[in-house]
């Protein structure tokens, strides 16, 4: 597409990057077909091509208002459009640039600002979030049923993972909300990897990956969180005596972010190199397990096959569109003997999308209900996914159990048959 960027953007790195991306869009409209928000609204302004155009007019110096901000806010950053785009348009990156620019010029309402501020302060803060969650759980019985469902129940914690000691070592990202919401996910990952001969190492000081703030209109704050995490990890990565093979991430939403550090910090001379190294090491737990398939198959031979219950797999957007790991986990589950049900419209977002379900509850709920309908049409006994956000969001809309896939693989491998599908 033709572009005529405004002078003020012509010579900034962001401006130039945005221009390259804009120019790679040929306005074919293919991406409209797979965009969840366009599917709901039928409005070009809520489509990827329309948002690209809104950002183009912003960078071309046309006046924009709160309306542009609204249509950019409504984007889930699910990146289904990127998977669909034959021209290779890096939409999400353009959106980051566009959102940041809009944020500089358009002031949000005080309520909106407060909500976003609170989310940025509470969610990434592990102890604060744990406290809030605990209070919510305590008051759960007092809430009306609809609200009750929004407060995630206390998961059962099974035995703690072993203190594994293997020559093969990997760092694990604890994350911010996951340990409070469901600590068992990382425990399960530890047990499974232990069986595969890999020890997981936890860096004590490590906190949030920065995704929350970065996608909640506070990009500098997000970048700071990234730097802090890199600092916490670096002594482990740089230690030549105890080599770290990879950084394991069990939430695909965090994984996609960590994999992007290299690009996001490339202009920061103090961090560029380290960030690139961290991104290179980052792997979704699915990639790690898939790489050990021969060993996994051997282990499975000694395990009783899982009961013939059918599983519906929900591939998080951050897994399939962000990390392009479509099919990897599905195939592991099949190897483990599970029957996967047929699911329609697998490319569509469930509406969780980080804090989206809180800041755009209306669209998020529609998408969630559509997703649950698509997931359950073949009558599964359980829904599994690969990201804590999707898990909680889906669970708020269904009676069926929604689990992380590593937990159920853990049950098969480690013979914990009790409490199969709570």
């Amino acid at each position: 597409m033709q572009t005529r960027l405004d002078e003020q953007f012509q010579n900034t790195p962001q401006g130039r990057e945005a221009e390259t991306i804009l120019r790679s869009c040929v306005h074919c409209g293919f991406c409209l077909a797979t965009c969840p928000t366009y599917q709901l609204s039928g409005n070009e302004l809520d489509s990827p091509r329309g948002r690209i155009y809104l950002i183009k007019q912003l960078l071309e110096g046309q006046e924009v208002t709160r309306k542009t901000q609204l249509h950019l806010d409504r984007c889930l950053t699910c990146r289904a459009c990127e998977s669909t785009c034959p021209s290779g348009v890096e939409y999400a990156r353009l959106l980051d640039i566009g959102r940041n620019e809009v944020e500089q010029t358009i002031k949000r309402s005080p309520i909106d600002r407060m909500l976003r501020f609170a989310l940025r302060k509470v969610l990434p803060n592990r102890s604060l979030f744990a406290f809030v969650l605990k209070s919510a759980r305590l008051s759960r019985p007092l809430l009306p049923e609809r609200l009750q469902r929004m407060v995630p129940a206390q998961p059962k914690i099974r035995q703690n993972p072993p203190q594994a000691n293997h020559p093969r070592r990997m760092l694990v990202l604890q994350g911010c909300v996951q340990p409070a919401l469901n600590p068992d996910i990382n425990h399960a990952a530890e047990r499974v990897l232990d069986k595969l001969g890999i020890a997981l190492v936890d860096a004590q000081q490590a906190g949030c990956c920065g995704a929350l703030a970065y996608h909640l209109d506070a990009q500098p704050e997000g970048l700071d969180a990234m730097r802090r995490l890199i600092d916490a990890w670096w002594p482990y990565i740089a230690n030549p005596d105890k080599l770290i093979e990879a950084i394991v991430v069990t939430a695909s939403g965090c994984g996609v972010m960590v994999k992007d550090y290299g690009r996001l910090l490339k202009h920061d001379s103090a961090y560029a190199e380290k960030a690139a190294r961290v991104s290179e090491l980052a792997k979704d737990i699915g990639e790690i397990v898939a790489a050990e398939r021969p060993e996994l198959t051997r282990l499975l031979e000694n395990c009783p096959a899982p009961e013939a219950e059918a599983i519906a797999f929900h591939a998080p957007c951050t897994l399939q569109h962000g990390q392009r790991l479509d099919g990897v986990i599905e195939s592991i589950l099949q190897t483990a003997g599970f029957r996967l049900t047929r699911v329609g419209d697998t490319h569509l977002c469930c509406g969780s999308a980080g804090a989206y379900s809180i800041v755009q509850p209306h669209i998020a709920r529609q998408l969630r209900d559509n997703k649950i309908a698509a997931l359950t049409r073949d009558d599964p006994a359980i829904v599994v996914t690969a990201n804590i956000g999707c898990q909680m969001h889906l669970q708020s809309g269904t009676q069926l159990p929604v689990r992380h896939w590593i937990e159920i693989l853990d049950q098969v491998l480690c013979g914990q048959t009790e409490d199969r599908f709570p």
């Binding site: 597409m1 040929v26 046309q62 034959p86």
Partner: protein, 484 residues
């Protein structure tokens, strides 16, 4: 009525988010798939049902305001380019599949339903909708009818016009016309054929009944690679001459293959000068037989590599690559100008050679994608709109290609429509008498020329001006035109 009053009139019948009237909101609607042509509409409206569309039309009729329909805006000839003083009428929200009749093999759908969504919904019954434009993932069935779109499988299954049974059409007055019938033939003039390809100039299509076909028992695909594009052209002719009607027969040249491979990793031969994709479908036996024959012909015609897709997934991937060919050009060049001429197949090699010469003459690269079976050529002229003068150069190059097509005995639109883009070339293809008839038909439906005015049929004046600029080999092409 003043702008503000009009906006208010629309706001009275539509939710406020469905009436766009400020440049900020209108700009994303300023163009379709041909983004070189841009125009802000006065107002854009997004109705959600037929009743709202009728109300909108009544207001526009009363105020004599132009109305431009828009589906998904994937058109490549600027058909949905807005009118500066008009209303852009988006039909994208009318996206419901109203009924699928698995016994009669029909589907009744709203105009904003995506082409592919029909086949996806019909799949449960083992049925599908045959015309498959490469843009089928996104384009709407209303747009398909308005453009009489074709696709890679049209060689065997026909264009849109051959696959629809009935339309509901709204006149500019807001009256409802029911055209066609559920039966294969209907009495009176064939208005169904007239509406198909009418580019939004005769009425607004508000409902379509399409034919569905049973999915063939099997479909298999041969990919043949050639070291010379002329040999590929000859292979096409040989296949047709052998009496085979492939379900699809497509050609891509080297540059196209490279661009597409990067996106889809289909496994095309990267060293080939051209590849042919040839599909056979039907009963297992027939297909096995036909595939054997096709392979033989490809071999005799000099193919250097012949692969048959091993699985249905691989077959689909081969097609997905072909269907992504235009936008994949965006990986090679910031802009492309997609041409859409048809030529008699036998002239393929010669026409391609002349295009190559022109490419050198204009200094612009050109990728070639070709519905080889039915002679529909899509040269993609690559240019950079940010360089001044390059669009004009691309247009001049494109015009020359279309002239070559007409000289070779072909026509200037295979399936993308005339829109705003090919108005001048319409002067070349048709004489006065035909154009007068076109105008008379238009006037019969739309006396004040409010529906998509200025598209698809050139005014006499335009042709005269174009003719004056375009004196060919010293002689005037249109001696019968009045000169101004």
């Amino acid at each position: 009525m003043r702008h503000a009053n009009l906006v208010e009139a629309f706001q009275n019948i539509l939710p406020s988010e469905s009436v766009l009237f400020e440049p900020e909101d209108l700009r994303p609607y300023e163009c379709d798939g041909l983004s070189a042509y841009r125009q802000l509409p006065m107002i854009a409206v997004l109705p959600g049902n037929e009743a709202e569309v009728i109300e909108i039309l009544k207001i526009c009729e009363a105020e004599k305001i132009p109305v431009v329909a828009r589906g998904a805006g994937t058109g490549l000839s600027g058909g949905a380019l807005p009118h500066a003083d008009g209303v852009l009428l988006s039909l994208a929200k009318l996206n419901e599949i109203l009924e699928i009749d698995p016994v009669a093999c029909t589907a009744r759908v709203q105009p904003g339903v995506r082409n592919l969504a029909i086949s996806e919904a019909a799949e449960t019954y083992g049925l599908y909708y045959a015309p498959d434009p490469s843009s089928q993932i996104a384009c709407t069935i209303g747009g398909n009818v308005a453009e009489n779109s074709g696709g890679v499988h049209c060689l065997k299954y026909g264009l849109t016009v051959h696959n629809i049974l009935k339309l509901r059409v709204l006149t500019i007055e807001g009256d409802v016309l029911e055209i066609g019938s559920e039966a294969l033939d209907s009495s009176g003039f064939d208005l169904l054929a007239l509406m198909t390809g009418s580019e939004g100039m005769l009425g607004i299509i508000s409902e379509i009944t399409v034919k569905l076909l049973p999915k063939p028992e099997t479909a298999r695909l041969v990919m043949a690679a050639f070291d010379d594009i002329e040999k590929a052209g000859a292979a096409v002719a040989n296949i047709i001459r052998a009496g085979i009607v492939p379900a699809g027969l497509e050609m891509m040249d080297k540059m196209t293959i490279a661009a597409v491979e990067e996106f889809i990793h289909a496994g095309y031969d990267p060293d080939a000068e051209a590849i042919l994709l040839c599909e056979s479908d039907g009963s297992n036996e027939v297909v096995a037989n036909e595939i054997e024959k096709i392979r033989d012909i490809m071999h005799e015609s000099g193919a250097v590599r012949i692969d048959t897709a091993h699985s249905d997934a691989e077959r689909q991937r081969f097609w997905a690559g072909r269907k992504a060919a235009f936008p994949a050009a965006g990986r090679v060049s910031p802009d492309y100008y997609c041409m859409d001429g048809t030529i008699p197949r036998k002239h393929l090699a010669e026409v391609l050679r002349r295009i190559e010469d022109l490419s050198l003459e204009f200094g612009l690269r050109c990728m070639n994608v070709f519905h080889a079976g039915d002679g529909n050529l899509h040269p993609l002229i690559l240019y950079d709109a940010n360089r001044s003068g390059e669009l004009e150069k691309a247009e001049a190059f494109g015009a020359r290609i279309l002239e070559i097509c007409i000289e070779a005995g072909g026509s200037l639109t295979g399936e993308h429509g005339v829109g705003i883009e090919k108005l001048n070339q319409m002067c070349l293809q048709f004489g006065d008498a035909e154009r007068d008839l076109f105008h008379a038909v238009k006037a019969a439906f739309d006396p004040d020329s409010q529906l998509n005015p200025g598209k698809a049929i050139p005014s006499l004046r335009r042709c005269a001006e174009f003719g004056a600029m375009h004196v060919h080999r010293g002689e005037e092409k249109f001696p019968d035109l009045p000169r101004f």
